[in-house]
Amino acid sequence: MNSKYLYIGFAALFGTSLRTGIGLIAAGASFPYSTLVINIVASFALVVLYEVFRKHELLPPMVITAVGTGLIGSFSTMSSVAYDTASFIQTGEYLLAIANYSLNMILCLLGAAAGLLAARLIMRPKKRKGLA
């Protein structure tokens, strides 16, 4: 159904606006901290969404897609990371370039792994007291 793209697009409005807004708050810093934090949070959130809500069918598929691909997907960004890194290379700030790229790579992957751990903790079967 083509309405899927409408929902994704609509959710993407919020993700993009949120990212831009946070970026504006943190504007003027010498290092793109906001992009890094946004990407880590998004990586964590997407895995939690999939491993808790999608896997256990707690939300309808359309909502999962809209929130996952639309909201979270557009909230996170790879192009900004690449462009900021390329800018650092252009200005000769090679250390910052390496730092920006590797921090995003490592911390976001760890964020995703943390999301998996969190999902498993949340969905862990609770022990019942009393009758077994």
């Binding site: 993009t16 959130a45 192009s79």
Partner: protein, 95 residues
Amino acid sequence: MDKLRPMLPVSFPWTTMVVNIAACYFIGLINGHGFFPAFQTMACTGFLGGFSTMSTLNDDALSLLRNGKILRFIVYLGMTYGCCLIGCMLGIYAF
């Protein structure tokens, strides 16, 4: 993209990778050369920023790892990060 997929090896997140690399090339192209500010914001922060994704990238990578596809995991991350940066620089130095 979906028409190409049957030809390609399965279980590799080609779509995400191609999307990310393309977005990085275009942000290099647009931001690197400068257009009038409204278009630049709309195209770069707006469209390309939303089009590219870090969250799906890492979810894909994690899935590959969990399914034991270690080599694909390394290739996926290596190619994505490598080609994204190269693509971006190609865009910046395009003309």
